[in-house]
């Protein structure tokens, strides 16, 4: 039987390496496909509530009071503004509009998800308030605008 020389062995070995390298390079590949969906959350309106009524008013007085605004959403919000307010008529006969509050723009602070924050407003009692306005509690409808702030 004929012997393989050293040089032949080297050539055979090199060829073997080439074969192995070729097999290793031929990776099996595949693709995947499918479909799904995601949904966006809905938005819930915040509520403005009375926090403190402040010190008692008298004709011509300007006093501060605070309101609390909550955030029932799953995301933080920021208050962009709080509208001006004007009191409704009281049960004691004090005329509507006797007490007013100025609008506030960008009062700041982010309200965390499911949190609340307190804002200070200024109330002014009309100088022409009548005696019917003594010892009354005034309700001022207010509206706040908010936006997401995540």
């Amino acid at each position: 039987m004929r012997k393989i020389s050293k040089r032949s062995a080297v050539v055979l070995g090199a060829a073997g390496v080439v074969v192995v390298a070729g097999v290793a390079y031929a990776a099996w590949t595949s693709t995947g496909a499918g479909s799904g969906s995601v949904t966006s959350t809905t938005a819930f309106n915040s509520t403005i509530g009375s926090d403190t009524t402040g010190t008692p008013l008298y004709p011509g007085a300007v006093k501060t009071f605070t309101v609390s605004i909550d955030n029932p959403n799953d995301y933080p919000v920021v208050v962009n503004g709080i509208s001006a307010g004007s009191s409704t008529a009281t049960s004691g006969g004090c005329a509507a509009g006797t007490v007013t509050s100025a609008a506030v723009t960008n009062p700041g602070s982010t309200i965390a998800a499911h949190g609340s924050a307190v804002y200070t407003l200024t109330a002014t009692m009309s100088g022409s308030a009548t005696d019917a306005c003594k010892g009354q509690t005034f309700t001022l409808p207010l509206t706040a605008t908010l936006s997401s702030n995540a």
Binding site: S5, R7, S8, V11, L12, A15, V18, V19, G22, V23, A26, A27, W28, T29, S30, T31, G32, A33, G34, S35, G36, S37, V38, T39, S40, T41, T42, A43, D74, Y75, S148, N149, A150
Partner: protein, 147 residues
Amino acid sequence: MSRWRFALPAGALVVCTWLVVGPSAPAPAANGNGIKQFAITDVPGRATALVPGATGTRWIRLGNAENFPILVQTVTTTVGRPVDGGGRPVPACPASSVRVDALAAPVTVAGNGTADVALTTHLLAGAPDACRGLTFPLTYTGTAVKP
């Protein structure tokens, strides 16, 4: 002379090498063109609602129909036009309001098995109000190799 003796066998070996390597390049898979396509589906009940400016997760399930493991290397997602609860398109909310990140790292899926992975979702902070309470269709594509 001796040079020719060695050169001829070497040339023959090279030809043989190509014959061996050549046919192995197309993978001998079931569909004749690679591993069977793997499935990508949503994992029921495992999605967080999209919130403006925040990230959430969309869990997906990778399904391997082969009887050997595969390594899923990429999964990318295309977001389609959103629809409301009645299935009606909402043009005021662009599909670009939502983004889904690509698969963060390769995942091995066992033969005839599944693997659940989470993709990160985003709803842009400046998404319009029209984007509230909508469903965004997703189309997944991915690539895998036999490890």
